[in-house]
Amino acid sequence: MARVVVDVMLKPEILDPQGQAVANALPRLGVTDVSSVRIGRRIEIEFAGEPDLDTAREIADKLLANPVIEDFDIRTAEDA
């Protein structure tokens, strides 16, 4: 069954305090060579029939992402 995967990320110019908090915790793991962490969201959509990228794009644009602060990418992915 093919599904559509939507990745939503904050726009680069929008501050990501969650990502910063994770980055600041990394030295506690002994990791010191990471310069930036940014956190987004992955959404998987399964259609009853063939995956419809246009509909998925509309869903992403209207609901899954807020275009004021976020960008999104859409792709199809096959199950293993």
Binding site: I14, P17, L63, L64, V68
Partner: protein, 233 residues
């Protein structure tokens, strides 16, 4: 005057908002998110809380509720709408107001009494204040950091659409200390702190919040028999 207060699944402050409406001298009308019928109310308050559990983004799912579809249409026609906290987030998600509310910069939930400076008194919800007046009302949010691109921020300031700013400390990192904004017509206002929690001495830090609710009564009375007035053009 009849002022609607919408209850979404996860609304918390609908009861306090209805009480503030009553104390201001109007009749509160409880509206249900799943019902597109606004029952002929003269204005609407979108209360604070965590509609739909803040799933996806705060306000993102509430924006598509049947009641919101009606409110979006009516607001474009001039209906006064006040969004408080989660209500402000819903108004931004509905694109009735520009910008967005994001995670507090310091990641902490902030709950305290907060001073604001009222900067725009020509809106439907702030006419009873004087320009530059400092007021004290509670703030309580985890995602109250107002962001917009520089051009939008410049436009908001240039057009007098910044309704209130945080003073004596910014609780969430909002750009340019913005606590409340309005649309171009002045009928839609979004505010992150909670005026409905500052309407009587027993429970609030002041009575300063009452001015938002008495303001809308005055602007509705001013609109007179002609109904919603200039917003119709």
């Amino acid at each position: 005057m009849r002022i609607g207060v919408v209850t979404f699944p996860g609304s918390l402050d609908d009861g306090d908002a209805a009480r503030a409406v009553r104390i201001a001298g109007a009749e509160p009308v409880r509206l249900w998110h799943g019902d597109a019928d606004l029952q002929g109310v003269d204005a609407v308050v979108l209360p604070g809380g965590f509609s739909y559990g803040d799933y996806l983004r705060c306000g993102a799912i509430a924006r598509f509720a049947p009641a919101m579809e009606s409110i979006i249409d009516a607001a474009r026609g001039g209906l006064p709408v006040l969004g408080i906290c989660n209500g402000f987030q819903i108004l931004c998600e509905a694109h009735l107001l520009p910008g967005a509310l994001t995670r507090n910069q310091h990641l902490h939930f902030r709950n305290r009494d907060q001073f604001l400076r009222v900067e725009a008194t020509n809106t439907a919800w702030t006419s009873q204040f004087s320009e530059g007046q400092e007021i004290l009302i509670p703030v309580k949010n985890g995602e109250g950091c107002f962001v917009a691109d520089e051009a939008t921020l410049d436009r908001l300031e240039g057009e007098g659409q910044v309704v209130a700013r945080y003073v004596r400390g910014n609780p969430n990192g909002s750009q340019r200390d913005i606590a409340a904004i309005t649309n171009e017509a002045g009928n839609v206002v979004g505010i992150m702190p909670h005026p409905e929690h500052a309407v009587e001495a027993l429970t609030g830090p002041s009575l300063d919040g009452l001015g938002f609710f008495t303001s809308v009564l005055r602007s509705l009375a001013g609109a007179g028999a002609g109904g919603q007035g200039e917003g119709q053009h």
